[in-house]
């Protein structure tokens, strides 16, 4: 009787711990296939493809041989039916490009805060003018990066198919010429299972 009871208690304990939720660290680069929605793997695939394409494009290789051109990121339009943070994609691309040592960037999203800091250094009387950053000395961007993310979604009872197309362009601000353009297509399909809980 005691043995039965203790066995039951053991089984119960196992069951209970089996149900408890668990926190763990995962690989940030691992393939994520929880849903067909835009996810981390899509972002990483896009950023890697864009940077690889750009770095091996012969005119870009020529251009960056002796100098580091200055770029700015405009934005990537989200033309999908999902709420996607496209800035996060361009941030990754920008980081990879900077780390390649071939490009430099100016950041348009902090212009106002930079101006405030410059005004503080110039006008507040708190900063030694010998070390104060001067107005009007910033470097103008030569190129602009911008693009689109669009999607086509098809869905029926059993299948959902999502096609994403990411396009990125590098435009010479002075001449208006698109110097480079890259594209990444992603297709994801989800089939509904027949049996489940």
């Amino acid at each position: 009787m005691v043995r039965v009871l203790s066995l039951a208690a053991l089984a119960m304990a196992l069951l209970l711990t089996g149900c408890a939720s668990k926190v763990d660290y995962g690989d940030a680069q691992a393939r994520e296939t929880v849903t067909t929605d835009f996810g981390s793997t899509d972002l990483q695939m896009i950023a890697a493809k864009m940077v690889d394409d750009m770095m091996v494009f012969p005119p870009i290789v020529d251009m960056t041989r002796d100098r580091r051109p200055v770029l700015f990121v405009d934005r990537v339009k989200n033309k999908t039916s999902e709420h996607i943070d496209t800035e996060s994609i361009t941030d990754t691309i920008q980081t990879k490009l900077i780390n390649s040592g071939k490009f430099r960037f100016v950041d348009m999203s902090v212009v106002n805060r930079v101006r405030e800091q410059l005004e503080y250094q110039q006008d507040s009387g708190m900063v030694d003018q010998a070390t104060a950053a001067q107005m009007g000395r910033q470097i103008g961007a030569e190129f602009m990066l911008y693009g689109n993310l669009s999607s086509i979604v098809k869905r029926d009872d059993s299948t959902k198919d999502v096609y994403y197309k990411f396009t990125l362009k590098l435009l010479n601000i002075q001449s208006g010429i698109i110097e480079w353009s890259g594209e990444k297509e992603i297709r994801k399909t989800r089939k509904r299972s027949l049996f489940g809980l």
Binding site: T35, K79, S158, R192, F195, G196
Partner: protein, 454 residues
């Protein structure tokens, strides 16, 4: 002996009721009665959301969350509304991605077979899904998040597209099943005549010209004339007689050729009138192998449906326009129910047989007391499924005016009262006034002006 059986039966039935009661709250209290709790006083600016918060975690969560999203939006709580609709979309996704045959589905299905259709978890019909995305778009619009609005409008269009494709297949399948079970829905047509009248001229249960018009206006304001033309044309397809939509199509077609009228901006009134009528319960004779059984069945009564009343908007310069009906939501709901009839009849026939067998067995084995108890249960549990999103409007209407840029004072008048407000007009821009007429007041809000490219 009899008493122990009676006790066991009672316990079983109580258990069944309780189990399915956990699943859904509408089992013994009809949904329209619950809805009165949050519909009253809404126009006066006091949204009682506590009832809805409680329902949000039940098996019918998606229904209560839809109501919550709408109620909080009307109440001016945009963040609350956005959060509620986000949860609604999470439910939609779960429904779409769930396995087609589910173990839990079998349990609730068995519960529904013993009790009534209210024991089945609520699944939002297509027209409600489309509305949820359109309202979420209005939330983003109100928050001046252009990209967010565009995303939701695309999602609403996607729902309409998917619904159109799924629609015909499903009805054909349900009719086949009814046929296999020996039920001929046509024989009961007399009982559904009211339903057909309520559905009126609505041809399909998902075609929503109001949301098409809303997105067309948005695309046009942002210079996306191609998208705008497609959506205006879809709205025109649903209302081929609407001259004002024809004008829109012409204007945007010209814009595609680079000829857009200069020196004026657009003011659009999106007008939502009243509440969609609730379902009603009727008694329907259903044939089973043991004879004809009277079962409770949901339907719509034309008498519940208000007549469409238009809103007139007048500018101080004399320009004026009256809204036209784009979406008859009561019609959509009635058409949707009509489409569900074959599948519901199959379930009702199975249920009637099951209840008959239970009662017969109780009578055979344990005499009148057992029979009485089961009969009592059958009577109490015989309730129609009256659940639908009830804070939707009865009609979605719209009108638009072209006005010169600047501030304009506009006079809105409806049969139930009016309002006067000042709105900004921007050249080539769009100013939307969202007006909701509720039984206890007129709610108006001016959405941020849309202009420039996306």
């Amino acid at each position: 002996m009899i008493w122990s059986f009676a006790r066991n039966t009672l316990l079983c039935l109580l258990g069944a009721a309780l189990l399915s009661g956990c699943a859904t709250r509408s089992l013994f209290q009809p949904y329209p009665d619950q809805a009165r709790g949050w519909k009253s006083g809404l126009g006066a600016g006091a949204a009682p959301t506590s009832l809805l918060d409680k329902g949000a975690d039940s098996a019918d969560g998606v229904l209560y969350l839809q109501e919550l999203g709408r109620v909080t939006q009307l109440d001016g709580d945009i963040d609350g509304s956005r959060a509620a609709f986000d949860r609604v979309f999470e439910h939609y996704r779960e429904t779409d991605e769930a396995a087609r045959l589910r173990a839990t589905g079998l349990v609730t299905g068995a519960g529904a077979l013993m009790v009534n259709d209210n024991a089945l978890p609520y699944v939002a019909p297509d027209y409600e899904r489309i509305y949820a995305h359109a309202y979420q778009a209005l939330n983003y619009w109100q928050g001046d998040d252009v990209t967010g609005t565009a995303v939701e409008l695309r999602a609403a269009a996607e729902e309409q597209r998917v619904a159109a494709a799924r629609h015909e297949r499903e009805i054909a399948r349900a009719e086949q099943e009814a046929d296999r079970q020996g039920i001929d829905p046509d024989r009961l047509d007399g009982y559904f005549a009211g339903l057909d009248v309520a559905a009126g001229t609505v041809k399909a249960s998902f075609q929503n010209a109001w949301t098409f018009y809303l997105s067309a206006l948005f695309w046009e304001a942002h210079g996306e004339y191609n998208d705008a033309l497609v959506d205006y044309k879809k709205a025109l397809e649903i209302h081929p007689g609407a001259d004002w939509i024809k004008e829109d199509v012409t204007r945007v077609s010209r814009a595609l050729d680079g000829r857009y009228p200069r020196g004026q901006g657009m003011v659009a009134v999106l007008y939502e009138q009243g509440y969609v009528p609730p379902r009603r319960e009727i008694s329907l004779p259903i044939p089973t192998p043991h004879g004809i059984f009277a079962v409770a069945f949901p339907t719509y009564d034309v008498a519940d449906k208000p007549a469409p009343r238009s809103l007139t908007v007048r500018a101080e310069g004399g320009e004026q326009a009256s809204t036209g009906v784009l979406t008859d939501v009561g019609g959509l709901a009635a058409r949707h129910l009509r489409e569900q009839v074959p599948a519901m009849l199959v379930r009702q026939a199975l249920r009637a047989t099951g209840k008959y067998n239970l009662q017969k067995k109780a009578n055979d084995d344990f005499g009148p007391v057992g029979a009485f108890l089961t009969q009592l249960f059958n009577l109490v549990s015989e309730r129609a499924d009256l659940r639908t999103w009830l804070s939707l409007p009865a009609y979605g209407q719209a009108a638009r005016l072209m006005l010169p840029p600047g501030e304009h004072r506009l006079q809105l008048s409806t049969p139930g009262g009016g309002a006067s407000l000042t709105v900004p007009v921007v050249e080539r821009g769009l100013t939307v006034i969202h007006v909701v007429a509720l039984p206890d007041g007129l709610l108006t809000r001016v959405l941020p002006v849309q202009e420039g490219s996306l």
